[in-house]
Symmetry: C2
Subunit: 132 residues, 2 copies
Amino acid sequence: MTYAIAEAAHQSGLSIDTLRYYERIELIDPPARDSGGRRAYSDDDLAWLNFLTKLRTTGMPIRLMREYAKLRHQGLATATRRKQILVEHRKDVLDRIADLQTCLEVLNYKITNYEQIERDLAGVAGYEEATA
Amino acid sequence: MTYAIAEAAHQSGLSIDTLRYYERIELIDPPARDSGGRRAYSDDDLAWLNFLTKLRTTGMPIRLMREYAKLRHQGLATATRRKQILVEHRKDVLDRIADLQTCLEVLNYKITNYEQIERDLAGVAGYEEATA
DNA sequence: AGTTGACCTGGAGTGCACTCCAGCTTCTAC
DNA sequence: GTAGAAGCTGGAGTGCACTCCAGGTCAACT
């Protein structure tokens, strides 16, 4: 099964331009081409894209994704380094989640404040209505 | 109590250049100046900076932070809109955390795979040693 | 009085990750 | 056999959030 670039874009959630861009910067291998010279993405290509988007979503810089992609081509010998990259990245992601949760508390606190303000303002309005 | 820009940078975790940049784009009010024309940040300034960094950490675009900053100057009347911004942003943050957690599972899965590969490689090495 | 170091301004430069464009080819449907 | 959609290439442009720089001022210490 192969997929035209529009379909690959749709499946991966990336834009067509981004797919070609990723190819240019060697994040992905040049996919096969059909008889007319158009890109024909394989299921494997999509699986790799899918994994890449996971790394992107979690904020891995493209530079590091490229290193990972390069290592992949060098086979099993690089498994340790690849694992190391992922383990380090996992730590980054966990830290990031913790950061977000801390910020969330601040956000909650602020929102609660605004709710109190709204109640106060409504109280004044109610009072004004009652005494009008 | 006031703070020189270097101290404010240190306290907020932003760079001196970023503080001046935030001032230029009207994210923060111009702080007071000392007799020599140097910025003298107040505790309130620092508190606001601190909140801004929370918004930044959670990925709020500067454009939106500016809107929020602007509303703040217009007093209580804008409380509802400000709350709305924070509530919407909180949703973004929650979504983002959920995304990260999904990606984390993929990362964990991959890492587990690499660990299996390492064990397999170690097994072969052990076998080779034993039969050498 | 001179040196050092922090700070000042306006403006230019940077890095990242796309995103868009012009001009061309190729397939599909009528 | 022609119109329109989809894809191609190389290269330029964009938006964001800083970051750096030159050339100057000011205060404190020696």
